[in-house]
Symmetry: C2
Subunit: 213 residues, 2 copies
């Protein structure tokens, strides 16, 4: 089964492509497990995928870190524009965004080296047994250049965030996954071109539907 | 004078490179005025610059829109992690980030077409005379995929945000400028390579110091 191939690739540190479905975003994301991050992988994402480089975190770990959705932060703030909170996107889901972070050891935060370092340190934090919230506050700041996403579980939302985290779970890996949208000319990269890219790079191409069949 | 060349190019809708200085970020950003945005320009930024695609807004317009700094939103929220607020970066400045937005007419928000549309609509909003805050809330949502930055004026901060907005002012254009960091292998693109890129593309290369001489 293709999902088993994806799990095997994920454990080896390889990238995997996940296409959510024609009826949702209609978009393929490159994903890989955060512990395998390197500056070269970040370079590949920005040059060949082109979307935002995000870090999806499973609900239990996010909770231990004290992470909440960005929308909850905006809505509970004293900003006059808090009504701008997005409750539903055009593809009918709530956004997965939490806060954007940088590890305190970075310089600007945006370079390949800096983003890889932030992701590496977040991955290490997720492996910890201690007080994750205390360590998050001690070692990271916000706003930064790595966009944290919180999963809602595939029973609640079928986005790339949830699919990537579900794959990590099947692989027996901690729920911290790097994600980046694949863009084409003007629009999301077409499913056909994403499949072609996966083939050329030796990456598994997974569809959201394969998680439910 | 090179700054006059940059002003002339800006008015024509061309991109300009601004290098802040060796003692600050040591980074070149591609900038252009928001009203000249096109999906092709967004594609060029993501493929050839590689950083975050941001929209810098001058303080007076930001104020009329009701925009505040992201750090103020975080600090005034009820999030347990609000202490993560960044008060000073490694290059000694406060961050310029306000909120990330999408125009309500987008689909995912991340594609070249969607980011260009969000920027175009923000630029049109800045030209308006009415209640900008009301229109911002009516037509845009947050979180989105275009990162708004608020200028603090070059007398207070000498970042790309302030330099780009100062250039817009000299050009007699509204203070809404698109910015994207130029990345190289692992690190920020070197000053020499940024100069070479500017030359190859026929873009003016401006240094922060030229604003004060």
């Amino acid at each position: 089964m293709i999902i088993n191939d994806a799990v095997a690739q994920l454990r080896k540190g390889s990238m995997v492509l996940i296409y959510d479905g024609d009826e949702r975003e209609g978009e393929a994301d490159i994903i890989f497990h955060a512990k395998f991050v390197t500056p070269d992988k970040i370079e590949k994402l920005r040059k060949e995928a082109g979307g935002l480089i995000c870090l999806a975190i499973e609900p239990m770990i996010a909770k231990r870190m004290g992470l909440v959705f960005y929308t909850d932060i905006l809505a509970s703030s004293d900003a006059e524009i808090k009504e701008m909170e997005c409750t539903k996107t055009a593809y009918k889901d709530k956004p997965a965004f939490s806060i954007p972070v940088n590890y305190k050891g970075v310089y600007t935060g945006i370079t390949d080296n800096d983003r890889a370092l932030t992701i590496k340190k977040m991955s290490e934090l997720a492996e910890n047994e201690g007080d994750l919230k205390k360590e998050l506050i001690a070692d990271f700041y916000s706003p930064g250049h790595v966009f944290l996403l919180i999963g809602r579980g595939i029973e609640n939302r079928k986005g790339h965030t949830e699919l990537a985290l579900e794959l990590a779970k099947k692989a027996g890996l901690k729920g911290v996954m790097v994600l980046c949208e694949m863009l084409g000319k003007g629009k999301a990269l077409s499913k056909e071109n994403a499949q072609k890219y996966a083939e050329e790079n030796g990456f598994v191409f997974l569809e959201g539907s394969e998680f439910y069949d």
